[in-house]
Amino acid sequence: MNFDISEEQELLQDTIRQFMANECPTTHLREVFESETGFDATLWKGMAELGLVGLHLDDEYGGAGLEIIDLALVAESLGYGGAPGPFLGHVLAGLAIQLAGSDAQKQTWLPSLATGDAIGTVALGEVGGGWQPEEWTLAAGSTLSGVKLNVPYASIAEVIVVGVEGGGLVLVEKGASGVEIQPIEGVDRARRIDAVTFESTPCEALPEGAAQSGRVRDAALVLLAADAFGSGSRLVDMSVAYAKTREQFGVTIEHFQAVKHQLANMAVELEPSRGLFWYAAHAFDHVQDESQRAAALAKAHISDRVMQIARDSVEAHGGIGFTWECDVQLWFKRSMFNRAFLGTPSVHRERAAQMGGW
């Protein structure tokens, strides 16, 4: 029995945390937040050089051949650091092509996705919350028509993996005809989303798309849960640090038992949930029977708990916590993204109930 991460994995997380502290302090994060595109090419290059964006791709395509647990630990650290940019959609696009693509498709795309030279993304959501493969409605043959919503960084993607009717997946290249991309004003300006309209757009099916799209969804749920966990850790740390510096009535507010208990409650809501995303990530590669349900439970539980922790963090900061200037808002909004993207907790709880045979 070894329910723990390895020293290498810890080292990787330390490296990312250090990288984020150096390259993306919150002053810089705010610049990206305010920027037009929400994309920082230098930061992306740094992440790519650390090997973060192709970790899970096969060696032969320039990846590190690692597992979803490794990718999830990266996501956790990026969540902690508040990393802006297209990481989520990018790694999912790579995963989709690796799992469902032909050799030729892999040859074409994976090497440049592994290095981050090309950015990929996934178009899953539809109008009215149709995130799940069985809910996708876009008909696709050699061309594709219809609307996908909430597509991360579609405007800078070289390739979009699009979920289509029957749960299949197709590839659309940048510059393909009939593609119109409109930004959606998303709450988390560190992770931009677009609406993408296709009109007779040339596309190419991933041969195993229908068989693998559920796996891509599960991986996405794990990564969102991991990011949420990292965000929650950051929020707890910020709140504890604030309680240690803010003075009222002649003492730092950490001296008030009510404050201490609120902070303890936040930690108790968060810390035990770490194993949920660890297990779901582990199950993805090693316990496939359970991986779908574990991913749903992890995403529902962690993103929900962390949203509450974000609210508690605002309260722990008092008035200042409600301001734009206070960093809590950055992770508050990140938490809203993690909670809503790919479906709210209640959606995945009901899925878990069904999968549990209830």
């Binding site: 009215g128 919503l149 909430n150 959606i184 709450v187 009535f249 605002v314 409600f322 709210t344």
Partner: protein, 402 residues
């Protein structure tokens, strides 16, 4: 128990309705926006009838009516129904005027009360400081008497309305050697001078309801002080005898509940209207229990206040009730919103796909947190209820220094 207002009051309501029917909108013209002069005239006429400026003595332009919570409620109901303007809203009429009437010099009342109640001048409140929130009496902004003027330096925060205020009423430490609470004076300051630097404080929602105000060698005449030197803390705590609005908070909770009910009816999940989801119905009905309880609590307070009786512990719970309800409603809203929870409430200026009517609920989701912190944090409210309501002792951490 009688939930009507009673015969005498219903007659009063009729009288108010008649007045409004005859006077608002001006000239009976509903399609035109009334001029400032017309609004002024209307307010003067309403004052003459005893409907506005009710707590203001006649010598300062008021109608000098005895406090009557129920007449107050009826006036709010009828003026709201007719969309007629009441006393100019704001902290000047709400807080400064009653304080001046109670503690001010005659010349101060003459100079400031009439234009404030007419809405000709606006005020902001300089109480909180970055280092002094719940522990307000630890404030550090200093005032020194130099010749015939106070020279004031420091910083205030959470100052709403500072951007268009003409004056600030302000707590300033003028007696640095006196004990904490006894070193504070209550000064009036002209905002329109060099050294007054107002900076809007942007909220996480994107809006700016509050400001920071930096005071650098700001000056005010020696006699623009309310009460004596060092009495500022007491002056600021003066019990305000104006008509309370016991049901205002509850009315907002009710309105919020109507909103969330509408949201549940107008949104869907998995193709089914959310209102048909048994778990949503349960949550709505549970929230309604709190909302109705809050509403009836307002009626209880109004009844007691109208009889000049102490409503008791219930009165200390208004803010916490509002905050709790707002939290519950906001959380339910986020569940109802589904994907719309991804949307940014902060701006509608940039071009974006699919602006959603429901986007305002995202603001509400965040804003419900602002409510908690604006009215003093929930912890402070719990202290008040525990200490004044249940007779429990003060915090020992606070005791150590207070």
């Amino acid at each position: 128990m009688d939930l009507s207002y009673g015969k005498e009051y219903e007659e009063f309501r009729e009288e108010v309705r008649d007045f409004l029917g005859a006077n608002w909108p001006p000239g009976g013209d509903k399609d035109r926006y009334p001029t400032k002069e017309e609004t002024c005239q209307f307010r003067d006429d309403a004052t003459a009838k005893g409907y506005l400026r009710r707590s203001i003595p006649k010598q300062y332009g008021g109608s000098e009516q005895p406090p009557d919570e129920i007449r107050g409620a009826i006036l709010r109901e009828e003026f709201t129904r007719a969309r007629a303007p009441m006393d100019p809203p704001g902290i000047g009429t709400m807080m400064l005027v009653p304080t001046l009437l109670d503690r001010g010099e005659a010349w101060q009342k003459e100079k400031f009360v009439p234009p404030t109640t007419r809405g000709d001048i606006n005020w902001c409140q300089g109480y909180s400081e970055p280092g002094s929130g719940s522990d307000l009496a630890s404030l550090k902004t200093r005032g020194e008497l130099v010749g015939d003027e106070w020279v004031i330096n420091g910083q205030k925060i959470w100052t709403s309305g500072a951007t268009n205020a003409d004056y600030m009423f302000c707590l300033v430490r003028t007696e640095p050697d006196a004990p904490k609470h006894a070193g504070i004076s209550y000064l009036l300051i002209d905002m329109n001078q060099e050294g007054m630097d107002v900076r809007p404080l942007k909220q996480m929602t994107g809006g700016s309801d509050f400001n920071e105000v930096f005071l650098t060698d700001v000056r005010t005449p020696k006699d623009w002080i309310v009460g004596k030197r060092g009495e500022g803390w007491l002056v600021s705590r003066t019990t305000l005898k104006h008509e309370r609005n016991s049901i205002g908070a509850a009315a907002q909770s009710s309105a919020m509940f109507q909103g969330i009910l509408h949201l549940a009816k107008s949104t869907s999940s998995g193709g089914r209207p959310n209102i048909e989801d048994p778990s949503i119905r349960q949550r709505l009905a549970e929230i309604e229990g709190y909302v109705r309880a809050h509403e009836y609590s307002g009626y209880r307070q109004m009844t007691r206040n109208a009889r000049n009786e102490d409503p008791g512990i219930i009165q200390m719970m208004n803010k916490l009730n509002s905050t709790n309800i707002s939290h519950m409603v906001s959380k339910l809203a986020l569940d109802l919103l589904g994907d719309d929870g991804l949307l940014d409430p902060t701006s509608t200026s940039r071009a974006g796909y699919r602006p959603s009517d429901n986007r305002s609920w995202i603001t509400q989701y965040m804003y419900s947190l602002g409510i908690a912190v604006a009215g003093g944090t929930a912890n402070i409210q719990r202290n008040v209820i525990g200490e004044r309501g249940l007779g429990l002792p003060r915090d020992s951490a606070a005791n150590r220094s207070a």
